[in-house]
């Protein structure tokens, strides 16, 4: 199974996403922002980082990168896409996911081991978790507050499209403790915390994050 990892100028967790894919048993394929070609990958991860320095707005400039053209089309057509942190911001800026991510309510960058509840196992990236499963993965962001109008959020809740919720502290002021969401089809997932940093006992707080990558691989095999 070939899973692409896009590198934008300023992407930082791209190597880590690739490592997580390999540990989960997949083949990681480097995709370059300036290359408008997905090279036939079976799924794509938009990694964390500060694309274009996150100047202006996080993800605002990356959204216009050449690779995003084919990516948006493919995602609309059902290609599984996981946006982590900066990747989540890119997905929102590209309107593949509703809402937006704004400055943390406390105005500080925050890096912490975050408890989450998996709210939906119906997506391409969460199928190997149990409904309601609690996990701990790193969270690190300065603009991670999820916002959208009430109608949008109610719809997300109603359709079970809230993928993960913060437990304990809400680290950034996200509305309704939302840590991740998915599109109607469940192939595109945006997540503020970093599962790719919880795949090895030695370097992560847990290995709870591995499930996102085993989910997609399992799904692709079955598909």
């Amino acid at each position: 199974m070939r899973i692409g990892v896009v590198t934008f100028p300023g992407s930082l967790d791209d190597r880590d996403a690739a490592r997580a894919i390999r540990i989960a048993g997949g083949e990681a394929v480097e995709l370059w922002h300036g290359d408008a070609d997905l090279h036939g990958v079976d799924a794509v991860v938009l990694p964390g980082g500060f694309s274009y320095g996150d100047y202006l707005r996080c993800g605002a400039i990356a959204r216009f990168a050449p690779v995003m053209g084919p990516l948006v089309d493919a995602a609309t057509g059902g290609l599984p896409v996981l946006g982590i942190c900066n990747g989540f911001q890119v997905l929102c800026e590209s309107h593949l996911l509703p809402g937006a991510l704004v400055r943390n309510d406390h105005l500080h960058f925050v890096c912490r081991d975050q408890r989450l509840r998996i709210e939906s196992t119906g997506t391409a990236w969460t199928s190997s978790y149990a409904e309601g499963q609690e996990i701990v993965v790193p969270l690190k962001n300065g603009e991670g507050g999820y916002v959208a109008d009430d109608a949008t959020i109610d719809l997300l809740e109603a359709e079970g499209r809230v993928v993960a919720r913060y437990l304990g502290v809400n680290p950034n002021g996200s509305r309704r403790d939302i840590a991740g969401i998915t599109n109607a089809r469940g192939n595109v997932v945006g997540l503020m915390p970093h599962p790719e940093h919880a795949v090895e006992a030695l370097t992560g707080p847990t290995t709870d994050g591995l499930g996102f990558f085993t989910s997609i691989l399992k799904g692709l095999v079955e598909a």
Binding site: R15, F50, C111, H197
Partner: protein
């Protein structure tokens, strides 16, 4: 703007010959009259204003080390027998062999004065500068650390400086994608008008990837790449770091340098790609003194000559004069020497990364650094005289007359707790005091996970990163300095800083290998400060010789004082250790109920200069704890051996606030309690709060206790069994304090330790 004539027509070498008597603003540029005279002697004429600009920044204290050179020599003279040093002092950073073909480079630098003027940008560009130093050795930067010192925690100006500095370090380092794996946060009134912002970076590379800053090969081209040159920070670091602040704050306010971490990230990836493609003969970062430094250092380290067309330098501000271009400290710039046939490939890679790059000159063997400005020669100098043959001062030193009185006023007479209740409250007071309280409010603003190789990070004794993902080979680094000890006795204070850093690295299971340092002191023009400096350098050099680990590089920061009041002498020492398999690292947390808790090392009645004397009595006097580097070495060998054999389940070094604070931190780390029985005959207060050196607290499974005691005996390390780890959530109990027992709940320890910084800065 700079006091330099912004004349349309530049001051050429021809002018300098034709008009020998032109008045020159050398004093405004920080040059002393005799230094100006020497420049005239070197050139046999007056310098052009461009030459004057170059000499003034390169001969500044920061760039020339004119006051420290004569002392720093000891690091070379007393270098221990070692085969780990691949590149020594004198390059941008030293390089150490960690085996299996891997090399590590690490270095700490100061950005103290810029961070006082503009905390966010000052600290941010401090990170940027040290990262480029590491990059210029050919290494991939893999982690940063930030030893910080501020004035009184509750002083209003600390509220201005600290949050800005922390946000700047995080803002730059996080955006760069470098994990922050440790540092220091120390509060002391002496830093009020002069906070210390030191930044350390670690880089890794294969042996064959090591590069040096030299312009080899006549006819090779000099390429300047990265950010465009602007008017920011003209003479910034060099001038700012080379003068004292008066009560009113900085006297000179050069345009502050603003960092662009995104550009630096591109610079890193672009630089590593051109290096690995074999396109580079020599490379140099642009830091203090900008183009003046890069061109003169590259030239004098290579064929000896260089011809530069300054008008080829891409500018952000077209109105800059040539003098300003030479002095500008615009960030995120690098300089590379490339053979003509490889230039196109080099530029192509820069285009891929969207990095501006221009050929600005070529290497010659003329022995001269010649700089043209639109066809006219404005600089023609022997590059060595700019880069290396600056003035050298053997400044007068004098042991301060107050030193004896200070050492006589020991802490022995201070009232000590005499009941279990008093002792319990004293420990709690210390746990919540700013220097010991949890630093999470600060460190949670730093990304410690990025790159996915962080094995240990704050609050562990040392940061540890995996270097080789296959073999698990890794390195650990710690930085330490107790400025109060250094004030009481600068010679032993420096040794104590080394000992603590060395012990912290060993506690994680890494074998100490090499040393870097950042020597933060007051004005070298004050004989008392110069005495402190020479004592500290001698102590550190002697200590490194005794421990058998070489100094690989470092940095000196003088003029850290307000008016004529100097900061505590602060020789920050960084020790790097290597561990064959990071899976064997030793963390600090209590984890397993039933594990035996042991103290390694000997506890004496040593409380002068201690955290207790400082926090409870506001007292500083006496002599610091005795240094016993032999004992430190034995302890370190035992700790490393224990980790190799997976013998201990936890280890934590004992320093500030002694065994009490060590136990508290080990319990709070994973919220697991312990029951401790004070050794019979031991004074409860001394046992818990003395700061005797060469000690650590470890835990071991009962089944392996005998083995540990055997190995300890073999190394001659005293072992004291003091208790056992209890269950998750249990209290920390201490029994046998004057017949009574005391306990702290984890909840109250957290409430006390975690509340302090948020209350002050949140």
């Amino acid at each position: 703007m700079s006091p330099l004539t912004p004349a349309r027509k530049p001051d050429t070498v021809a002018d300098a010959i034709a008009e020998p008597d032109t008045e020159q603003p050398y004093a405004e540029l920080g040059l002393k009259p005799d230094e100006y005279v020497r420049i005239r002697e070197i050139l046999g004429r007056r310098p052009t204003s461009a030459e004057l600009a170059m000499y003034s920044v390169m001969w500044s204290e920061h760039c020339s080390y004119k006051s420290s050179k004569v002392h720093l020599r000891q690091f070379g003279d007393k270098k221990p027998e070692t085969d780990v040093l691949l590149v020594g002092i004198g390059e941008n950073a030293g390089v150490v062999d960690i085996g299996a073909g891997w090399a590590v480079t690490f270095k700490v630098e100061s950005h103290n004065h810029p961070s006082y003027v503009e905390p966010y940008q000052g600290a941010a560009t401090g990170i940027g500068g040290i990262v480029r130093d590491i990059l210029s050795m050919g290494a991939r930067p893999v982690a940063v650390m930030d030893p910080l010192r501020f004035g009184a925690a509750d002083h209003p100006d600390t509220r201005r400086v600290l949050p800005g500095v922390v946000a700047g370090i995080g803002g730059y380092g996080n955006c760069l994608g470098l994990p922050n794996i440790g540092g220091e946060v120390v509060f002391d009134a002496s830093y009020q008008g002069n906070p210390l912002v030191n930044a350390l970076c670690i880089g890794t590379m294969r042996h064959e990837d090591i590069h040096l800053a030299s312009a080899k090969g006549v006819g090779n081209l000099v390429i300047l790449y990265g950010a465009k040159t602007g008017g920011d920070g003209i003479g910034g670091v060099s001038v700012l770091a080379s003068e004292t602040f008066d009560e009113g704050g900085p006297t000179k306010r050069p345009a502050v340098q603003v960092g662009d971490p995104f550009m630096e990230k591109l610079l890193i990836e672009c630089t590593l790609e051109v290096l690995h493609a074999g396109l580079v003969e020599g490379i140099q970062d642009l830091g203090g003194a900008g183009i003046s430094c890069a061109t003169s250092e590259l030239a004098s380290n290579g064929e000896g000559g260089m011809h530069v067309r300054l008008d080829a330098v891409p500018l952000r501000d077209a109105t800059l004069t040539p003098e300003e271009i030479l002095m500008s400290e615009s960030q995120e710039r690098m300089c590379a020497v490339v053979t003509p046939e490889k230039v196109e490939a080099f530029l192509a890679i820069c285009r891929k990364w969207d990095v501006t790059a221009d050929v600005i000159g070529e290497v010659t063997d003329s022995g001269r650094l010649v700089i043209e400005w639109h066809g006219e020669v404005i600089v023609d100098v022997p590059p060595r005289t700019v880069a290396h043959d600056g003035p050298v001062y053997d400044r007068p030193l004098a042991r301060p007359e107050w030193q004896d009185a200070l050492q006589a006023a020991t802490a022995d007479t201070l009232p000590r707790p005499t009941t279990a209740v008093e002792l319990r409250d004293t420990v709690l007071t210390l746990v919540g005091s700013p220097n010991l309280a949890s630093k999470t409010w600060i460190t949670s603003q730093y990304d410690r996970y990025v790159l996915g190789n962080t094995v240990l990070a704050q609050p562990e004794d040392a940061g540890m990163v995996r270097v080789d993902e296959e073999s698990g080979l890794g390195v650990a680094v710690s930085t330490d300095c107790n400025g109060r000890f250094a004030k009481l006795d600068p010679y032993n204070g420096a040794k104590l800083a080394l000992a603590e850093s060395y012990r912290n690295v060993a506690a994680t299971g890494a074998a100490p290998l090499a040393v870097t340092n950042c020597l933060n002191f007051g004005s070298p023009e004050d004989p008392a400060v110069m005495w402190q400096f020479s004592q500290a350098v001698t102590g550190l050099a002697d200590g490194c010789l005794e421990l058998g680990i070489p100094v690989t590089g470092g940095n000196v920061s003088f003029y850290n004082q307000t008016g004529d009041v100097a900061i505590l002498p602060t020789p920050v020492v960084g020790v790097l250790g290597v561990i064959d398999d990071v899976a064997l690292r030793t963390p600090m947390a209590f984890t397993t109920e039933g594990d035996v808790v042991l103290v390694l090392g000997e506890t004496r009645d040593e409380l002068s200069g201690s955290e207790w004397a400082h926090v409870v009595h506001g007292h500083l006097g006496g002599l610091p704890p005795t240094v016993d580097l032999g004992a430190e070495r034995a302890l370190a060998e035992l700790l490393v051996e224990a980790s190799r054999a997976s013998l201990v389940t936890a280890a934590h070094d004992v320093s500030d606030a002694g065994i009490a604070q060590a136990l508290v931190e080990m319990a709070m780390r994973a919220d697991v309690g312990a029951r401790v029985d004070l050794p019979v005959g031991a004074d409860p207060f001394v046992f818990l709060l003395s700061e005797s050196t060469a000690r650590a607290v470890v835990t071991v499974a009962p089944a392996r206790l005998a083995e540990l005691e055997l190995r300890a005996a073999a190394h001659g390390v005293p072992v004291t069994r003091i208790g056992a780890v209890t269950a998750a959530g249990d209290d920390l109990q201490v029994q046998g304090a004057w017949g009574e027992s005391l306990a702290w709940t984890l909840a109250e320890l957290h409430a006390t330790a975690d509340a302090t910084l948020p209350a002050l800065f949140g």
